[in-house]
């Protein structure tokens, strides 16, 4: 009854239409307006910035150029670096903690529901509340630093959120060459893999791209985006933010893993045990690979939260702590305190691109996989 199926598909489309229109307006039209704003000079001229009908000029990519190579916008570049580090540590922390807790609870200890509730409850709090509490806890002269004092040991002196220390420093000017090399190498590996799996066309394309990337690296050797060396690295002040963020989201990750673990059939585990896998091996060889989809799912959700992180940092460190700054916060201040609407929009667009970089390939691989199912 193909006509019936088609009719239902049509109904489905009509049912979907309102949502699509709403998303079209609330997401895509606003994104378009933000992109447009980022290409203007809105905010540079105070007499137009907050006028009732601001008159702005189109200036192309100048805002972006300033963000990446302008002298005054070093804070933005550090924010980008910070956000990469923060995402790495936050993901690692949540996945590890969530997995560990899920495995523990999977062993069905007594009071399982109690433990589960305790680990899950921080997820119910807002980031603002979490930030407020942890800010109080991580004050260098109180809170966590004083815990050893409770048992008679001297208090710790780590500066937590107020730390100015930075590790793993590198010079921003070395980034273009480094990324070109990395890109070239990455594409070379892709080419090799494609060649091995007989995809000639893809292999050739990737090989050419790799060669281009390496050529680009050679060409860029003398290019200096900035007039003087600008060092960026991992701000130790982020340790406190990572701790608070993991505290909040580890429970959710644990719930995901628990669901995943419960979904592994008992027979599979027993079969593995029969074949000699036990304890450590059981987990690393059998269970973890089966949990890969969960890990991926968690990484996507956590990843996009960490790229957009704002409330937590705002509550913990306020708007003026340069060492815990993140792009979303910088965007907020640039727009609403500095009145630089176009530049703030540019930061927003870059954030969007960052998120898209992760999400789009994931979406495409998902949907492609669905079709082949």
């Amino acid at each position: 009854m193909s006509w019936r199926k088609h009719r239902n598909q049509l109904t489905g489309f009509l049912v979907l239409l309102p949502s699509m229109i709403l998303i079209g307006i609330f997401v895509y039209s606003f994104i378009a307006r933000t992109i447009w704003s980022s290409l203007t000079d809105w905010g540079r001229d105070p007499s137009q910035a907050l006028a009732l009908e601001p008159v702005t000029r189109f200036i192309g990519l100048q805002n972006y150029r300033e963000l990446f190579t302008g002298v005054i916008d070093g804070r933005f570049r550090q924010d980008l670096v910070s956000t990469v580090f923060f995402t790495l540590f936050f993901l690692a922390g949540c996945l590890l903690a969530g997995l560990l807790l899920a495995i523990l609870i999977d062993h069905k200890p007594r009071g399982e529901a109690f433990f589960r509730a305790i680990f899950l409850f921080p997820f119910a709090l807002s980031f603002v509340v979490t930030g407020t509490i942890w800010r109080w806890l991580l004050q260098p002269s109180g809170g966590v630093n004083r815990i050893p004092a409770l048992v008679g040991l001297p208090p710790r002196t780590f500066e937590w959120l107020t730390s100015r220390r930075q590790v793993w420093r590198f010079d921003w000017s070395s980034l273009p060459v480094a990324s070109a090399i990395a890109l070239g190498l990455g594409l070379a590996i892709v080419a090799a893999l494609a060649y091995r799996s007989r995809r000639r066309g893809g292999a050739v394309a990737a090989a050419v791209a790799a060669a281009l990337g390496l050529a680009l690296a050679v060409l860029l050797r003398g290019y200096r985006p900035l007039p003087f060396p600008e060092l960026h690295g991992f701000n130790l002040a982020f340790v406190g933010i990572v701790v608070a963020a993991v505290w909040q989201m580890a429970g959710y990750t644990m719930a995901l893993y628990l669901a995943g673990l419960t979904g592994i059939p008992e027979e599979l585990r027993e079969a593995a045990v029969v074949e000699g896998a036990s304890g450590w091996h059981l987990y690393t060889r059998v269970i973890l690979p089966l949990l890969a989809p969960v890990t991926l799912s968690a990484m996507i959700v956590l990843g996009h939260i960490s790229l957009k992180i704002f409330d937590l940092v705002f509550a913990m460190a306020g708007p003026d702590n340069a060492y815990t700054d993140v792009p979303a916060l910088l965007m907020f201040i640039t727009t609403f305190r500095g009145n630089q609407f176009a530049k703030g929009a540019a930061i927003g667009v870059i954030l969007l691109l960052l998120v898209a970089l992760i999400i789009v390939p994931y979406l495409r691989s998902q949907l492609r996989r669905e079709v082949s199912r």
Binding site: L104, T130, I133, L137
Partner: protein, 263 residues
């Protein structure tokens, strides 16, 4: 194993202890040196004061959260049903486009959003916030329901269709009864997100329609923050979400299992 569990519990509960203890102290007794010490006198006044600040906004928060969560859940369920069982040509693209909406940073679209909400006359009303949260909840609810419904065997749908059931009848008879895990996950997620959201709440409401997140921020306001107030307020504000968790908690994991998790 229990040792690890107890250490974990200590780590998770430590901030709650701090919150409680600070909330119960009098402002003059709150200091960095004595942060861990329990209060000498239990000052319940901070809870009373926080409650007084919250009470008028509680109704706003409840109306907003319940309505928006329900609306986004129902719409998400219908959308998920379409994507899972009746994919029309181009549905994959449509799904990707809707899903991408989940990832936008909200600060980036605040100004155009405000202007739009104002132009349709919903600024300052709680219904403006309801519309906003419903729309921005659509991507995640659609995703969760689609993943849930994909697990429903096509044979069931076929059978029902052969019996003469149309789009909505199949939904009513086959799909909706199997939706409980999906609804639980969606309700919990949306309730948490909407109840705790601050940026839209503060930008799109006026004092009459403000949710409690704004009132909570007021408590930590002023140049000299009296920490007992925001701590007490935070505890009070967290109670409803905690209640939702306690009631629906065990269904949450089950719901996550039922397919919303699958990569």
């Amino acid at each position: 194993m229990y040792l690890v569990l107890f250490l974990a519990v200590a780590f998770f509960l430590m901030p709650v202890y701090m919150m409680l203890v600070t909330a119960l102290k009098e402002p003059i007794a709150i200091g960095l040196d004595t942060a861990w010490q329990p209060p000498r006198t239990w000052n319940w006044a901070s809870f009373a004061e926080a409650w007084v600040a919250f009470q008028p906004k509680l109704r706003n928060s409840f109306v907003l959260t319940v309505t928006a969560a329900a609306a986004s859940a129902i719409l998400g369920s219908l959308n998920g049903y379409v994507f899972a069982k009746w994919p029309f040509p181009g549905a994959r693209i449509a799904f990707a486009l809707i899903l991408f909406g989940m990832f936008i940073p909200y600060q980036a679209i605040l100004i155009p959003l405000f202007q739009f909400i104002k132009s349709i006359g919903l600024y300052g009303s709680i219904w403006g916030l309801v519309v906003v949260h419903t729309v921005y909840g659509l991507p995640i609810t659609t995703l969760i329901f689609r993943n849930t419904y994909v697990e429903i065997p096509d044979a069931l749908i076929e059978a029902s269709s052969l019996e003469g059931a149309g789009f909505f009848a199949i939904y009513r008879r086959v799909v909706f009864p199997l939706s409980l895990p999906g609804f639980v996950v969606v309700i919990i997620w949306q309730f948490t997100q909407i109840w705790n959201e601050f940026l839209f709440a503060v930008s799109l409401s006026n004092p009459e329609s403000q949710p409690i997140t704004v009132a909570l921020a007021q408590l930590s306001g002023g140049e000299a923050v009296r920490w007992n107030l925001p701590m007490a307020g935070a505890l009070l504000a967290a109670l409803p979400t905690l209640l939702v968790y306690v009631v629906f908690g065990r269904f949450f994991v089950r719901g996550l299992l039922a397919g919303s998790v699958k990569g």
